[in-house]
Amino acid sequence: MSFRQPSVLPGFGLTLGFTTFFLSAIVLLPLAALVAAAGSMHAKDLLHVVLSARAIGSYKLSFGASLLAASINLVFGFVIAWTLTRYEFPGRKLIDALIDMPFALPTAVSGIALTTVFAQNGWIGRYLEPLGIKVAYTWLGVTVALTLISMPFSVRALQPALLEVQRDLEDAAETLGATRLYAFRRIILPTVLPALLTGFTLSFARAVGEYGSVIFIAGNLPMKTEITPLLIVIHLEEFDYQGAAALGLVMLLMSFAVLLTINLLQAWGRRRLVRTGR
């Protein structure tokens, strides 16, 4: 049998059969329905929905705010991961455990809590208000929500990579007269680069599709603070299933592109590790 390598263990047919059946029924068939619904539209109608001014406005916000959130997490994710792996301080273990909070916390909860904190009379919003910075109900609020929910992806991608940086190489660089900045640029950055990019892509992917936390803080004005997933919901509420499916397809293709990028990045990271002999 060439499909699989022989093994003495039983249960291959049963478990693989159940897995593929269940996967097809719960995930693949429903996704096929989405592609079919969008595919049954005339190309002109499809483009009309996908390229309408309102849709384009929503892409700008969804993709722009997600890129910004992923960039913020690129910087702060690195700082946090560095702090957690390199420094010992009271409460480090607790902070480390808390990083996963946005994974476990329902998005509706993060949504209403962030809105309250960043509203004009909120704990943080009241200090930003005199500075003329409005966060809640603006695109800034969208970015804050997306930053929170995608933060763990960046930190968790970086932590193992930072542990892998060879400290003896850093020490050698330092004894040979390299400045900290030079050692950082030539030794630390190259090692963690694939992880940085993976974290960035994962954060971006999570942020683009986010719905629950954003709709509370966004204000949801068409063309201004309306994200693409919300526009899909609006189409569904108007029973315009095809329009919703068309927009869904755009986002789905985006997700596939991101998944592909992550796989390529990880393959690249592995190749680099092999090449440097580790």
């Binding site: 093994s7 808390l98 704990w123 499916a245």
Partner: protein, 289 residues
């Protein structure tokens, strides 16, 4: 420019060059401060707000918000949904992990990618696909209507959408764990004459129990907290198809902040519990990916 008061520990910091210069001390102080400020503003302040708002008018209004029949119904619906979805996805996760971790076959990496697919998809899309299948204008819509079965805007739709979203969690925990643990003990058990089920329950299950526990509780937290996908299929009928996260939205939009944050506080406690279990699981020595 004096260095801040900083006591270097007598660890490897002393044998490393350039570790007790004032530059290092300042950088260290800066990194820790920036990290803590960022997390305090983005993570701790919202968490504290949940409880501050829930108890804003004291304990009695907090407790009485759960007496509201619609909120009580939402809690029941969420528990019912999780009670169906979590066992089913656990069973799936175990089967998928057994097939993927114990055997070598073609197309394995594609299968893993497909299992992870729901994680990359917007929750709104995860809900919408079931509307497209079972909604009135969907593939099976007419047939379902003729047979008087409602899936969308009813309990089955909520369960399906939740199942879709939480589909990968148990499998994702178990696959790397079982791959890392290897097949030797199972192969020994089988060659010594144990049956497949006996091997699974007596050899494999004890080895993976902590990873399984975390996968199940994470799946449960996501199932109880799912908002986007459920919002699309639920129809928002208070007392009937409103889960706890959807109830939060309705209460919040009605300016019933104590009620909204009271329900939110329950889900926050569930999230904290999930993280506690995760920390305990990791203490048993099992390293996640």
């Amino acid at each position: 420019m004096a260095a801040p008061a900083f006591e270097p520990e007598l660890t490897d910091a002393d044998v490393r060059p350039g570790q007790h210069t004032w530059v290092h001390a300042i950088v260290r102080w800066l990194f820790i401060t920036v990290s803590l400020t960022f997390l305090a503003a983005l993570l701790l302040a919202p968490l504290a707000t949940v409880f501050a708002m829930a108890f804003a008018r004291g304990l009695i209004p907090y407790l009485s918000s759960f007496a509201d029949p619609d909120t009580a119904a939402a809690v029941r619906l969420t528990l019912t949904t999780a009670a169906v979805v979590v066992p089913v996805n656990t069973l799936f996760g175990l089967a998928a992990a057994w097939a993927i971790a114990k055997f070598e076959f073609h197309g394995k990496s594609i299968l893993i990618t497909l299992i992870d697919l729901p994680l990359a998809i917007s929750p709104v899309i995860s809900g919408m696909v079931f509307v497209l299948l079972f909604g009135l204008h969907g593939w099976f819509g007419l047939w379902l209507q003729e047979h008087d079965i409602s899936i969308v805007f009813a309990l089955p739709g909520i369960m399906l959408a939740t199942m879709f979203v939480t589909f990968p969690y148990v499998a994702r925990e178990l696959i790397p764990l079982m791959q890392q643990l290897g097949n030797d003990e199972e192969e020994a058990a089988i060659t010594l004459g144990a049956g497949g089920w006996l091997t699974f329950f007596r050899v494999t299950l004890p080895k993976i129990r902590w990873g399984l526990a975390y996968g199940v509780i994470l799946c449960n937290a996501r199932a109880m907290g799912e908002f986007g996908a459920v919002s699309v299929v639920s129809g928002h009928i208070r007392g009937l198809t409103n889960t706890m996260p959807l109830d939060i939205e309705i209460l919040y939009n009605q300016y019933d902040f104590v009620g909204a944050f009271a329900v939110a506080s329950l889900l926050t406690l569930l999230a904290v519990l999930t993280l506690v279990v995760k920390t305990l699981v990791e203490r048993t020595g099992y390293q996640r990916r």
